[in-house]
C-alpha cells in the first residue's frame, strides 16, 4: 500500500501549522472569490499567485494555499446562484435551476446548507477518486516519449474548447496566439526571438502578468461596459431549519452526482460545467416523476453541486499526472507549479512526492474546513455578496496591480498587464476563448522541446510524431475533439438552453 503511506506523509505536510493556516485562509478567500459575481475561480487564483510568490512561501505551502482557494471557489459559486439567480461561475449555472426557486420559497438557508453538504460529498468523492487514479495514470505516463507528449499537448488544446465550445477554429487561433507569445525571448540555442532588442523581453513574457491582465483587467472593462456596477437585490436568508432527515434524503443524490462529476472532470475537455450538467440531468431522469425538479427540489440543488465539486477534483488528475490541465483554473494552478520550478507530469509523483501528496491531503482537509466554515459563516458571505461590484472591482484591480508590482518592482510590467487586459477585453468581445491562450503560453516551451527531442531521436523524420500506436491514438482523439463540437455541440447546447428556459417558464 504505497498510496496509503504517501497519503499519510501528505497529511503530515498538510497538517503542519503554517500549511493548515494557509489552507484555512485559502478556503475562506476561495469561497469569497467564488461567491462574488465577476470574480471567477481562474481569475481569483490568478490574482493570488503574485501574492503567494512575493510572500516567499515555500512550494508546498503555496500550492496548498492555491488548491484551497480553488476548492473554496467551487463552494462559493453556489451562493450567488441560490440568492441572486446569477451563477458566480459557469459550473454553478445548474444550481440556479432549483436553488433560486427554493430561496424564493423562503428556504434560502436550507438550500445553502444542503448545497454545502452536497459540495462536501462531491469534493470528498472526487478527492478519493484522485487518490486512486492519479498514481496509476502517473505510472502509465512514465512510458510516454517526446512524440507522445507532443501528441498529448495537441489533445489538450483540441479538447480545451470543450464539447460545448462554440467555434473550435477560435480555440485553434487562441492556442496558436498563446504559443506564439511563449516563443518570445532567448531560446535554448541562444537565439533571440521576437525581442525587438528590448531587454525586458529577453527572458520572455511573464505568464503571470499575462494571466492577471487577461482575466482581471478585462473583467473590469466588461463590467464598465455592461454598467452592472450597482449589483442586484438579494433574497433574505431566514433561519436554518434543517433536520438530519433532509440531509439523508439528498445523500444518494450526492453520491451519484459526485461520481459522475469526477468522471466528467478527468475526461479532457469536459470540465466542471459538464459535470454539474450531467449530474443534474441524469438525476432528473433517474428520479423522474418522484421529484419536482425546477420548482425547488432539494435534490436539484444537491446534484449539480456534488457534480461540480467532484469534477473540480477530477480536473486535477490530468494536471498533476500529465502536466496537461483540463480547465482554466487548473491551467492557472499549472502556472504556479511552473513558476515554482516544479515540472508537472509523472515525474512529479516521485521527485516532489511531498508536494503532490501534501496538496491531495490538503484537498481532503480543505473540504472538511469548507463544510465547517460554510454552515455557520454563510450569513457573513451573504453580507459580503451585497457589496456592489462598483466598489469591489476597482479594489480587485488594485490588488492585481499590487501583486504584479511586488513581483519585480517595475512599472513596465504594469503597462504590459494593462495591454494584456485591453487585448483580453477585445478578444472576449470577439468570443475568442482566453484559456487556450494561457495554456499556449504555459505549454509552448514544453511543446517545442518535445518536438525537438522527438526529431533529434528520429534524425529529422517527421513521421515519428505519429509513429507509435499510442501517439497515433492521441492524435486521433485530438482530431475528434476538434470535429465533435461541430456535430454534438449544437445538440448539447440546445439541450442545456432548453433545460434552463423550461425551468424559467415553470416558476
Amino acid at each position: 500500500m504505497d498510496t496509503l503511506q504517501f497519503l499519510i506523509d501528505g497529511f503530515a505536510v498538510a497538517l503542519a501549522p503554517q500549511n493548515l493556516m494557509f489552507a484555512l485562509f485559502g478556503a475562506f478567500i476561495g469561497t469569497l472569490i467564488g461567491a462574488l459575481p465577476g470574480l471567477g475561480p481562474a481569475n481569483g487564483v490568478a490574482i493570488l499567485i503574485p501574492l503567494a510568490f512575493t510572500l516567499g512561501l515555500p512550494a508546498d505551502t503555496a500550492m496548498i494555499l492555491l488548491t484551497a482557494v480553488y476548492a473554496g471557489a467551487m463552494y462559493g459559486g453556489r451562493i450567488s446562484s441560490i440568492l441572486l439567480n446569477i451563477p458566480g461561475d459557469e459550473p454553478a449555472m445548474m444550481t440556479c435551476l432549483d436553488g433560486y426557486p427554493m430561496a424564493q420559497k423562503g428556504k434560502a438557508a436550507e438550500a445553502l446548507a444542503l448545497s454545502a453538504v452536497a459540495s462536501f460529498m462531491g469534493g470528498l468523492i472526487g478527492t478519493i477518486g484522485l487518490i486512486l487514479l492519479a498514481p496509476v495514470l502517473a505510472k502509465f505516463a512514465l512510458t510516454f516519449g517526446p512524440a507522445e507528449y507532443f501528441a498529448l499537448f495537441m489533445l489538450a488544446f483540441a479538447t480545451l474548447g470543450g464539447i460545448t465550445g462554440k467555434n473550435p477554429m477560435k480555440t485553434v487561433v487562441a492556442a496558436t496566439l498563446g504559443i506564439m507569445i511563449s516563443t518570445v525571448g532567448i531560446d535554448n540555442t541562444g537565439v533571440q526571438r521576437y525581442t525587438f532588442g528590448i531587454l525586458k523581453l529577453y527572458e520572455g513574457v511573464d505568464f503571470i502578468l499575462a494571466i492577471v491582465g487577461l482575466f482581471a483587467i478585462s473583467e473590469l472593462l466588461l463590467f464598465i461596459e455592461e454598467r452592472a456596477g450597482a449589483g442586484r437585490k438579494l433574497i433574505q436568508v431566514g433561519k436554518l431549519l434543517l433536520r438530519p432527515r433532509d440531509i439523508l434524503h439528498v445523500l444518494p443524490t450526492t453520491l451519484r452526482g459526485g461520481s459522475l462529476g469526477f468522471i466528467a472532470g478527468v475526461l479532457p475537455g469536459a470540465g466542471a460545467s459538464l459535470g454539474s450538467f450531467i449530474s443534474y440531468t441524469l438525476e432528473k431522469q433517474y428520479l423522474g416523476k418522484k421529484g419536482h425538479f425546477g420548482e425547488g427540489d432539494p435534490r436539484g440543488v444537491a446534484a449539480p453541486e456534488a457534480g461540480n465539486n467532484g469534477a473540480s477534483s477530477g480536473a486535477l488528475v490530468p494536471m498533476l499526472t500529465l502536466g496537461v490541465p483540463g480547465s482554466g483554473t487548473t491551467a492557472v494552478l499549472l502556472a504556479m507549479l511552473i513558476s515554482l520550478n516544479i515540472t508537472p507530469g509523472p515525474l512529479m509523483f516521485t521527485q516532489n512526492a511531498d508536494i503532490v501528496w501534501g496538496v491531495i491531503a490538503a484537498l481532503l482537509i480543505g473540504n472538511l474546513l469548507l463544510l465547517v466554515l460554510n454552515i455557520p459563516l454563510v450569513g457573513f458571505f451573504v453580507k459580503l455578496l451585497s457589496v456592489p461590484p462598483m466598489f469591489l472591482l476597482p479594489m480587485v484591480t488594485m490588488i492585481a496591480f499590487v501583486g504584479i508590482y511586488s513581483i519585480s518592482h517595475s512599472t513596465f510590467d504594469l503597462y504590459f498587464m494593462i495591454g494584456f487586459g485591453v487585448a483580453g477585453y477585445l478578444l472576449r468581445k470577439l468570443e475568442m476563448p482566453l484559456v487556450p491562450i494561457i495554456l499556449g503560453l504555459l505549454l509552448g516551451p514544453e511543446m517545442e522541446k518535445n518536438l525537438g527531442h522527438a526529431l533529434v531521436i528520429s534524425d529529422g523524420d517527421w513521421s515519428v510524431l505519429w509513429g507509435t500506436p499510442l501517439a497515433a491514438s492521441l492524435w486521433l482523439v485530438a482530431g475528434l475533439g476538434l470535429i465533435l463540437p461541430y456535430i454534438v455541440g449544437p445538440i448539447l447546447r440546445r439541450r442545456m438552453r432548453a433545460a434552463i428556459t423550461e425551468d424559467a417558464v415553470s416558476d
Partner: protein
Amino acid sequence: MTARGDRILGLALLVLAVAYGWAAQQWPAPFGGHEAVGPETFPTILSVVLALSSCYLIAKPDPDAHWPWGRTAIELVMAVGILVVYALVLEPLGFIPATTVAVGTLCWRMGAGPKGAFITGLVSAVVVFFLFNNLLELSLPAGLLAFE
C-alpha cells in the same frame, strides 16, 4: 447580421502570421551546423497554422457581438486611461495617494457617489499599504508620504 469583427480580426491575425513567419526566416543558422529542429522550425509551423485559421475566420466569420459606441466607449477609454495614469504615478506619488485617486475615480465612474467612492479608495489604499509594508514586509512605494 454583420460580421465585421471577425473579418478584421482575421485580417489582423493574417498580417501577424506573415510577419511572424517572415521574421523567423531571418535568424542566422545556429553555430555548429544545421539540425533537424532549429530556432525557426517551431515558429514557422505556428505561423502557417495561424495563417490558415485566420483565413478561415475571414471566410466564415461569426456574427458580430454588440460593440459599445458613444458614451460607453468613452467610459472604457477613460478606465484604461485611469489604469495607465495609475501605473505612471505609482512610484513618484506613492502608493496611498495614487491608489486613492485611481480606485476612487474607478468606483465613481462605475456609478458610486463621489464621496463614497473616494473614501473607499482612501480606506482600501491605507489598509493595503499597511498590510503589505508592515505585516507582509513587502515594500510599496511611499512616495510623497515618505518620512523617516
